[in-house]
Symmetry: C2
Subunit: 259 residues, 2 copies
Amino acid sequence: MPLNHIRIVLVQPSHGGNIGGCARAMKNMGLTRLVLVAPEDFPGEEASARAAGADDVLAQALLYATLDEAIADCHLVIGASARDRHIAWPRLTPDAAARRMVSATAGQEVAVLFGRERTGLTNEEMELCKALVHIPTNPEYSSLNVAAAVQVLCYEVRMAFLASSEDRPLKTKTAKEDMPATTDQMEGMYEHLYQTMEDIKFFGTSNPDVIMRRLKGLFNRAQTTKREVAPPWIPPGYPPVTGWLRWEKCPGSRQGRRL
Amino acid sequence: MPLNHIRIVLVQPSHGGNIGGCARAMKNMGLTRLVLVAPEDFPGEEASARAAGADDVLAQALLYATLDEAIADCHLVIGASARDRHIAWPRLTPDAAARRMVSATAGQEVAVLFGRERTGLTNEEMELCKALVHIPTNPEYSSLNVAAAVQVLCYEVRMAFLASSEDRPLKTKTAKEDMPATTDQMEGMYEHLYQTMEDIKFFGTSNPDVIMRRLKGLFNRAQTTKREVAPPWIPPGYPPVTGWLRWEKCPGSRQGRRL
């Protein structure tokens, strides 16, 4: 079932009622994987009350202390964004985002991130995303409740799912190496990239954060694959940079590349 | 502003909280005209609390004792339906319904009806609709909260509105007579039709309700115009049937036709 590969991630939600509302919205549209990052008020009565018949979704919810852990194994991460961002991150409409998510479920793990009720996602959290999704709202009253935002997104996911089951092309097998890199793999590469750029004194007087953000934007737009993050033609152990490829647990696979 | 021609009609809502949630969902998407038919719990604290910053929508809400009054002047009425109906009423997806609604706003009054929390709209209320809209939900958990349903519909209306303002064709002026008939005009015709069929003993041993429902379905699908409901070539006063054309207030305009 494709929808099982999509998780809804709430980052530091403060109201239990909103968590319950999200669970109900998800279940209405056939999604069941709720992930909570450092929730302030969960479990609790408010969450259960608003969930109505969706308490099974609440009961199965996974809790993590950090967002990194919550999406480490995800190939496609999309962040919900109400505000305009400085950097040119790809911004999708909800229907386009949903189509991309549903077609990714043929073999990939997908996450949609929803930020804090008041402040949304931080820039650092946005940088973990391959794209942003923006729900168009009335500019004079744009504060969409998080459960309402989850409702709209999950509705579009269901529409995309129904459309795709009508005319899904024969599934073509993608080689493991040509799958999009997971968040963990991307982060490992960024760490290496940053270290290398510092080693060669690339940053000079520029702000490293700004440069890294632009680079991450580029790699995210490109839907970087595992093969590209860790090309097989680079000999193991070259170059010997600390922190590189922490996603590969076995020591023999430590690889690196100049970018 | 096209969205001003769309009203959201809640039929006998029982929970004030849901009314507030609907107001917020509407305002988020740029809709402001809320109509309440015989609400059980309004105005009240629950409604205001859930409305958050949308209390202006609540304050402007119009209250009616009956649905007929609430939509008497509407050209396009669409009913939200969770259940499958026996009769073949046109059933639209939310995006198709929204496109139709937004294109109708060039001169027409539009209403979307949402039924009671537990039982939805009655068959008689459905028969006032030119089409039904169905939000596809998880068949195993399909009970969409009314505020959530309003959120999804209003979101699709906004998407359709944004798309139409990008590529709206030059507005073509429709003659008043070629506009779709209003609910009131349609009801006047049905009343006449029923009376005539009874006069000619058309029903025989059949159930008149079933036959009328099928006929209404046909006229609704056809998007019947005012000209068709009250053709100008029929002399005033012919045939002299009581109750016919109660939509025309001036006595000189009493017209009729055999169907």
